[in-house]
Assembly symmetry: C2
Homo-oligomer: 484 residues x 2
């Protein structure tokens, strides 16, 4: 709980409609897209301009009150999970598209602007914003930057960090800072990439300059069916090894395609063990040439059928299935847990086989949907939170998948961030020398650890404690903790 | 000077041939490519493996001796200027290309490997390393990473930071750390971009994983002549505004082309006020289409003549002129000072006009060579250090150009880094709140400020002092200091 004096001070900064303190008002903010974790905040404040953000942060800094910035609340790693004795700072009112400049091909936007709204605003100029998380209808660009969001087109066009030019933000001290530059390079340490993916730990973002790209003249997507999931996994590596960088290269297994097909009727083959979606974009000549190569590689890799979209409507239909995969799975299972890990492409077939084995072992169906081109897995474990034991087995199954990701040379996150979900995994992923630097950087921005505490970077004490538990129990894993 | 006990301890780490302490042996290290600044180091040590680097850094850390890492010594901002009471740690013996992997399209190299040697090693696989500083025959990849080097092909393919996947380094404490990952994204703060361009202030780099790109099937370069330098400047913006991202888009004025032509006989038109080099690369069909568009835009922009390379030999000849511009100018003038600043492309014509006016005012010829596509200027001010007053006027002229870069919305460096040269400019470029974060990050890596002291990031005290001098003299600029 927050004390009365503090909330009264907050009330002098924003109008009363922009400050929520009653439990029934703050409840909608108790979790984000990762509903496994919930916590009601002491207050939610919704500033509408930068000066208010500055005043709020100065106040929280002086009173040593934790602040969790929140965009659309679509984080899948609990990145905007509130702190009970803290403030949620919602950027929902920062919804202005300040400028679209077709000459420099940039857009200046506020953090609350929805991802898709940027491409919509840029469309009249023949431009678009490339990173396209599946939640792009809802998720906001501030959260995309905070989590360095990906999407199906990131294989070719890069993650958020590769498509952002400048970020303006406010430090916990109230100081306004800018990261990046209008130019390609900038003097000083390059902190633009640091702020991208910093998960709200370093600054509250108030304005973002993103790059826009010319919309390709044509895009076509091939939908390839495979009778064996490992063959589909191997085909992914072969496409890349052939020198093709598709606009998107996605994979879904049978459980996923079936769930999707019932939901959006995208025209996916229901008998296939797995499907690949491979997009070619560019000039019509380029697309024709690349699509011919893609067909050749897929056929040689054992595809049992290949369909190529005839027009834009069919292309969007094929993609709609992939983009709706999470809600589609949500329809057929009371609960699901989306895992996010990354592995080298060459390890795909083996990892897929192992997930299938564990799925039987844990008696939990697992639908596999993933950004295959860059090795980013999204196994969706289907469970029922009301069935005793399901939740624990789900978490254990998920942890084993992530553990396997590290073992084969990958990482514990592809695009969803660390958040609260994978904080302990960071102890396994990084050596103390690296974590110490992370903590030093945190101190340089936020000496008292007030911005989004408990997320992103674990303290060394926490890692030690985590390690100690391992030893104490004489096993690799504490029974109640995800193991890594 | 370093004390005997310290150098004796150094001698236990490396063989005697790898430790230089005599003034005649350390003299070659007194400066790098920016010869305006010189300082002889107390010792030069040339380790040949990472374990020796660790031992050297631990020793320096314990004894609080400053360390300046050095690659090929081609820095143009004094990035590897030694410290008198310090050690130069040369990475010259780290010359192994550890691995070229055509499947993942990466190369693992040691920091002393020359930039061009990577592309040479990758050529049998049809791959190349894209960033190509003009010094690429000599400069080494470790220095490229430390300075985030650019080059003529960076407009399309990005700077060093965009072409590096992983960096391994040793902290001043002797801890080994890795930045980046094999995957597209990585958990934790993204420190890969931070280490790129950190100018030797955070870690000593021992291994680098770079991305390799497929060599385009065809590349052609158009050489366009203009009778007016502002028209050439405006044409640059028009090419980009037309939606073309050329492989390279370079500009040289008459002084530069004449100097070059005498040196390499590249076939440049000597009567032109300025020439543009515009490259198209890709499949033959793409190149033909893009080159037609380029011709159209250049003609509409007032080009008086356009020649397109007929074959690879001619393409390389056209580029050889641009790449040899600095040594060519070095042949016709006793001394020259290369300025490195970046401006918005739209500001090119106006900035060029102003440089011409100042050139007459200071009575110092100025040859303009630059990466026009990304607005990165390299005015070369010709002077004679032995002529009284020339050096001071040169520095003043250069500072005014950089000051103008900031005024028009640009920055004080495009690709050469801050080093010792532009350390005071950082006080003008960044607000104290940003500099404080820079210093905090420095502390997180190097609490005692031992790695490359005095470069890259100025202390706030230095900025204050610099500001105070301004005020004390009642003018914008201290007479002996570059003003910003």
């Amino acid at each position: 709980m927050l004390d009365q004096k503090f909330t009264s001070a907050l009330a002098t900064i924003v109008p009363s409609s922009a400050l929520l303190t009653e439990p029934e008002d703050t409840r909608p903010y108790e979790c984000d897209g990762l509903t496994l974790y919930r916590e009601q905040p002491g207050a939610v404040v919704l500033p509408e301009n930068e000066a208010q953000v500055v005043a709020i942060l100065k106040l929280c800094h002086a009173a040593r009150v934790p602040v969790v910035a929140r965009g659309a609340g679509t984080s899948l790693s609990g990145g905007s999970l509130p702190v009970a004795a803290g403030v949620v700072l919602s950027l929902a009112k920062f919804r202005r598209i300040v400028e679209i400049d077709p000459i420099t091909r940039t857009a200046i936007v506020e953090p609350g602007v929805r991802n898709l709204a940027i491409s919509e605003a840029a469309a009249p100029y023949g431009l678009f914003y490339a990173p396209d998380p599946s939640s792009q209808i809802a998720c906001s660009i501030g959260g995309n930057v905070a989590e360095n969001a990906g999407g199906v087109h990131c294989l070719k066009y890069g993650l958020t960090v590769h498509n952002v030019r400048k970020v303006r933000g406010v430090l916990i001290t109230g100081d306004i800072v800018e990261f990046g530059a209008d130019a390609l390079d900038a003097p000083g340490y390059d902190l633009l990439a640091l702020i991208c993916g910093s998960e709200g730990l370093l600054a509250v973002i108030t304005q973002i300059t993103v790059k826009l790209l010319p919309k390709p003249a044509l895009a076509q997507v091939a939908l390839a069916a495979f009778d064996d999931i490992e063959k589909a996994g191997a085909a992914v590596g072969k496409v890349i090894a052939a020198g093709i960088i598709p606009g998107g290269l996605e994979m879904m297994d049978r459980d996923a395609t079936r769930a999707v097909e019932q939901f959006v009727h995208a025209g996916y083959p229901l008998d296939a063990a797995a499907v690949l979606l491979v997009e070619a974009d560019g000039t019509p000549a380029e697309v024709a040439a690349e699509m011919a190569e893609i067909r050749e590689v897929l056929t040689a890799s054992g595809a049992t059928g290949i369909r190529v979209s005839n027009d834009e409507a069919q292309r969007l239909l094929y993609w709609s299935g992939r983009k709706a995969a999470f809600p589609a799975v949500g329809r057929i299972s009371p609960d699901y847990y989306c895992i996010d890990g990354t592995i080298p492409r060459a390890a795909l077939p083996g990892v897929l086989r192992q997930i299938e084995i564990w799925s039987r072992e844990y008696e939990l169906p697992c639908a596999n949907v993933f950004h295959a081109g860059d090795g980013n897995l999204h196994p969706l474990i289907l469970f029922d939170a009301n069935r005793p034991g399901d939740r624990d087995r789900t978490v254990e199954f998920g942890d084993r998948i992530l553990e396997l990701c590290i073992e084969v040379g990958g990482t514990i996150t592809g695009e969803h961030g660390v958040g609260i979900e994978k904080i302990r995994g960071m102890c396994a992923q990084f050596a103390p020398a690296a974590l110490e630097r992370f903590l030093g950087i945190k101190r340089a921005f936020d000496a008292h650890g007030l911005l989004n505490p408990g997320k992103g970077v674990p303290t060394l004490a926490r890692c030690a404690e985590f390690g100690a538990m391992h030893v104490h129990h004489g096993a690799l894993r504490h029974p109640e903790l995800p193991r890594f």
